[in-house]
């Protein structure tokens, strides 16, 4: 069963997980309080984003909110409300008006004291009721953010903080890529040592035993009407969001480069394999290492390790140095280089590359040591480096692929009108010269 489970996990991971991968992206999630209906939570996040400075807002990849609603708490409250109403302790006001009064948007009146007391009690007792929501949130954060390499900033308000803390505790290695900003929190800490903003006269939190002390002057508890409407707390929130974002920015890549073949003269050999630091099934091959200290992101089907901002991998560009440069990343101008081999060419010769070495190898080297020679002026001017064969001349030569038995391949090397040579490559993967054929 464990095998099947692992297999399914692998499948899920390998198929969906790394699509549109980008370690530079940060997703912001707003986590609301338990009495907020979905419209309230949505409105809270819209107002938060409206207040973010434009540059900061643009630096986030997405804004989402996790809706948390406790049917149990709310129906209990509803019962209490109707009970109070029946007893004549609440008259001529509706449930929502009473709820918002009790939440401390305005002073809690005697008639609403019982309702508010019930509410605060439910806040503290909430920890038993949120398991399902926590799992849902984890699933969503995984599929939408972590599995795509994104970092996560949780901005939690009221009991949303209890959810945020609980989610954070279950993140294991993902904690390194997560920050929490706590607003009006009834909890006694902020997960991951995140910042908290609590009004000194928060109508709800001040009654919650063990909660963190208020640190910004003001009253009220609701997110928009109290925390964003108060200039000091609004600025504190925006600063905390910015700090959280900047803190996440300093995280290192989740990927290690396995083989960095810097000393190859074949551009294809410059591609590397990478492996996920925390996840065993996450190896990726054929990655373009534009910046070894950069992070991973995908450009369509091309995977790069690079600085932020790359838009596409270029194979050719103006002023490219063919001897030393392989690929360029537009957007960052980072270049993948190769080893220059000019120094190995005899005087007067020009090196060129025989492509498709793989074809030769296909025809069966006996010892897996590909070998090729080409002759020029009675001197060996071609060399074999790794699996590439370089000869003097100016013509690019490619071997035709043939399914037939190994045979002699003929090709010409032409540097100038005076020099015409033919090099034969036999099934033993050696290059021999037949003079005066052409």
């Amino acid at each position: 069963m464990k095998v099947i489970y692992t297999f399914i996990l692998t499948l899920i991971f390998s198929s969906s997980l790394f699509s549109s991968y980008n370690e530079y992206k940060t997703d912001l999630y707003f986590v609301n309080g338990v009495w907020n209906d979905k419209g309230d939570a949505e409105n809270n996040l819209i107002e938060l984003t409206k207040n973010l400075p434009l540059e900061l807002k643009k630096s986030f990849n997405s804004f989402d909110f996790s809706h948390n609603w406790s049917m149990g708490v709310m129906t209990d409250l509803l019962e209490t409300f109707y009970q109070l109403k029946q007893n004549g302790q609440i008259s001529d006001i509706g449930f929502y008006y009473a709820l918002y009064v009790a939440l401390g948007t305005v002073s809690v009146t005697d008639s609403l004291y019982l309702l508010s007391g019930k509410l605060f009690g439910d806040i503290i007792a909430l920890e038993d009721t949120i398991e399902a929501n926590i799992l849902e949130m984890l699933n969503k954060y995984n599929s939408k953010s972590y599995n795509k390499g994104h970092r996560v900033l949780l901005v939690a308000h009221s009991q949303g903080n209890i959810y945020a803390n609980a989610v954070y505790e279950r993140l294991s290695w993902k904690k390194n890529y997560t920050k929490v900003v706590a607003i009006g929190s009834p909890a006694n800490n902020v997960a991951g040592n995140g910042e908290h903003i609590t009004l000194t006269s928060d109508g709800v939190i001040k009654y919650v035993v063990g909660s963190m002390n208020g640190n910004v002057a003001g009253s009220g508890h609701t997110f928009v009407d109290a925390y964003l409407a108060n200039e000091a707390s609004k600025n504190a929130i925006l600063l905390a969001v910015e700090n959280g974002k900047n803190s996440l920015k300093t995280t290192s890549s989740q990927w290690d480069i396995l083989n960095n073949n810097k000393n190859v003269i074949d551009c294809n050999e410059r591609l590397v394999d990478i492996t996920h630091k925390h996840f065993a099934y996450g190896d990726k091959h054929g990655v373009y290492p534009f910046n070894e200290n950069g992070k991973r992101y995908d450009l369509g089907s091309t995977i790069v390790m690079a600085s932020d901002g790359g838009t596409s991998k270029l194979n050719s560009w103006t002023d490219k140095d063919e001897k030393t440069e392989c690929y360029k990343l537009s957007g960052t101008d980072e270049i993948i280089e190769k080893k220059a081999i000019d120094e190995e060419c005899p005087s007067g010769g020009v090196l060129f590359q025989l492509a498709s070495w793989e074809i030769l190898r296909k025809y069966g080297s006996t010892n897996n040591t590909p070998f090729c020679r080409a002759y020029h002026s009675q001197q060996v001017c071609a060399i074999v480096v790794n699996r590439s064969c370089y000869c003097c001349g100016s013509t690019f030569i490619s071997f035709p692929y043939q399914e037939a038995k190994p045979q002699i391949y003929s090709f010409s090397i032409q540097k100038s009108e005076e020099l015409k040579e033919v090099v034969n490559i036999d099934s033993n993967e050696t290059c021999t010269k037949e003079s005066n054929i052409l």
Binding site: K38, E42, F65, I93, G94, M137, L228
Partner: protein, 463 residues
């Protein structure tokens, strides 16, 4: 009765072409932008001495205005032109022949031909998928049969043309022939082209030959076998605002018997009323071109009585243009309550919205959008994941409005008081709780918003 000018700010739902030019006109009894032509006399009640028209033309007979029945005069101020409505009828070659009593409730109907006498055709406009409009698109309606009854259930009916005409020259057929339009709830009939209702028969004196939105019970009494004028009851018992008729082409309501009309009528072409002296019109009518009262044939008998029904005009509000305010009543025994005009909003909530947001057409539009969404989400709270986008759209529309009008951050419409109005019973609250419970644990994104999120283009509203 004072003359009344009503500002008609924007007119109707997304179906209507709106312009930014405010229109300041609503018919006061009868009005025309060209001329009102009296081919014989008429009794114009409740209009003072003046009619809203630049010209009054009369032949030998004279129309009388007001309580003292003095000669009518034209106003010095000509009425403005009306808003233009876009009629989305169904243009097709298909013909549906109706030969038995029928209920038609699809969203689109072909041309309809009534080819049998004494039929009842019921039109039942259905709410669209979004729950925004209750609308039925129809092709041409032709009816040369006798005694047809048309029942319109609450909603909007967009019709290519209507021709109900028994003037075939067959005298036998012309006897005791009538036609009825009955409104079940608030009905608006938009006719793209002509609207001809001609019953040239001599009608049974106990009922009008042409009856538009009249009570079903007879209110013309006989005494010793005839109908004395003093026993005739001209006041309508039906509310004219229940049936609004808007026609782009010529409109004719003509009969050699009586017509009885309780309606508010807009015409973008000529309008003609012609009937016998006991005919009565109750409501309001406005023609962009000439308005004829009485035909120019050899008859010179009075045409009838025209009464202005001010209460009906007062009940119109401009949220959806020319919508009628429903009664402030709530059936709290059910979750959905009463929606008498079937526009997707509970009657008491609609009444509340119009009262609370009476100074802002935009806020009325947004509040109505929210109320419509709420009716849907509490109907099937278990479908919350499918229906919640409706609530989001109303919120986005609200934020578009807030940005547009620079409202303070803390300003909101879907506030505690509005919620308490919407969810004013325990059952409604629990349904709303259930909706939230289904959504709980899920994560939702937010997106950029635009006027497209508003059911009604609030950019085209005045305030």
């Amino acid at each position: 009765m004072k003359r009344k000018l009503i500002t008609i700010g924007l007119l109707l739902s997304s179906s209507l072409v709106a312009s930014t030019i405010p229109v300041e006109i609503f018919p006061s009894v009868i009005s025309s932008e060209k001329a009102i032509i009296f081919n014989n006399s008429a009794n114009i009640k409740d209009s003072g001495l003046s009619l809203q028209t630049p010209v009054i033309e009369t032949d030998k007979t004279r129309a009388k205005c007001g309580f003292f029945r003095r000669e009518c005069k034209a106003t010095s101020l000509a009425p403005s032109s009306l808003k233009q409505f876009t009629v989305r009828s169904n243009i097709t070659d298909e013909i549906l022949d109706i030969s038995e009593d029928t209920v038609l409730n699809s969203s689109k109907l072909p041309n309809i031909n009534i080819d049998k006498d004494n039929l009842t055709i019921t039109f039942d406009a259905q709410l669209d998928e979004k729950g925004v409009e209750r609308i039925l698109h129809i092709g041409k309606i032709t009816d040369y049969a006798k005694n047809s009854t048309y029942i319109f259930k609450a909603g909007d009916y967009h019709i290519e043309s209507i021709e109900i005409d028994n003037d075939t020259g067959n005298r036998k057929k012309r006897l005791h022939d009538s036609v009825k339009f009955i409104a079940k709830g608030n009905v608006r009939i938009f006719v793209k082209d002509k609207l001809i209702i001609n019953k040239s028969s001599i009608s049974n004196t106990t009922k009008p030959a042409i009856s538009i939105n009249c009570p079903t019970k007879q209110y013309v009494k006989k005494l010793f076998g005839f109908v004395p004028h003093w026993l005739y009851t001209p006041e309508a018992e039906a509310d004219p605002s229940q049936m609004l008729i808007i026609a782009g082409g010529k409109m004719k309501i003509t009969t050699k018997g009586e017509f009885a009309v309780n309606s508010i009528i807009y015409g973008y072409n000529t309008i003609e009323f012609n009937g016998m002296p006991l005919s009565r019109f109750n409501g309001a009518v406005h023609a962009s071109k000439e308005l004829y009262i009485g035909s120019d044939d050899r008859r010179r008998v009075p045409t009838g009585t025209f009464s202005y029904y001010e209460d009906a005009i007062d009940k119109l509000y401009t949220i959806d243009t020319l919508q009628v305010l429903p009664p402030n009543e709530d059936d709290t025994s059910t979750i959905l309550g009463t929606d008498s005009n079937r526009n997707g909003v509970r009657d008491d909530v609609e009444y509340y919205i119009v009262e609370r947001y009476k100074d802002s057409q935009m806020e009325r539009a947004i509040a109505m959008q929210t109320a419509k969404a709420v009716q849907i989400i509490i109907t099937k709270p278990e479908m919350a994941l499918e229906t919640t986008e409706l609530m989001s759209k109303s919120l986005y529309c609200f934020h578009y409005y807030k940005d547009k009008t620079n409202k303070e951050m803390t300003y909101r419409m879907f506030d505690a008081i509005y919620k308490d109005k919407l969810f004013n019973t325990k059952e409604r609250l629990l349904a709303y709780f259930k909706y939230n419970e289904v959504l709980s644990g899920h994560t939702f994104g937010i997106r950029d918003y635009s006027v497209e999120d508003c059911y009604i283009n609030i950019d085209e509203l005045e305030n």
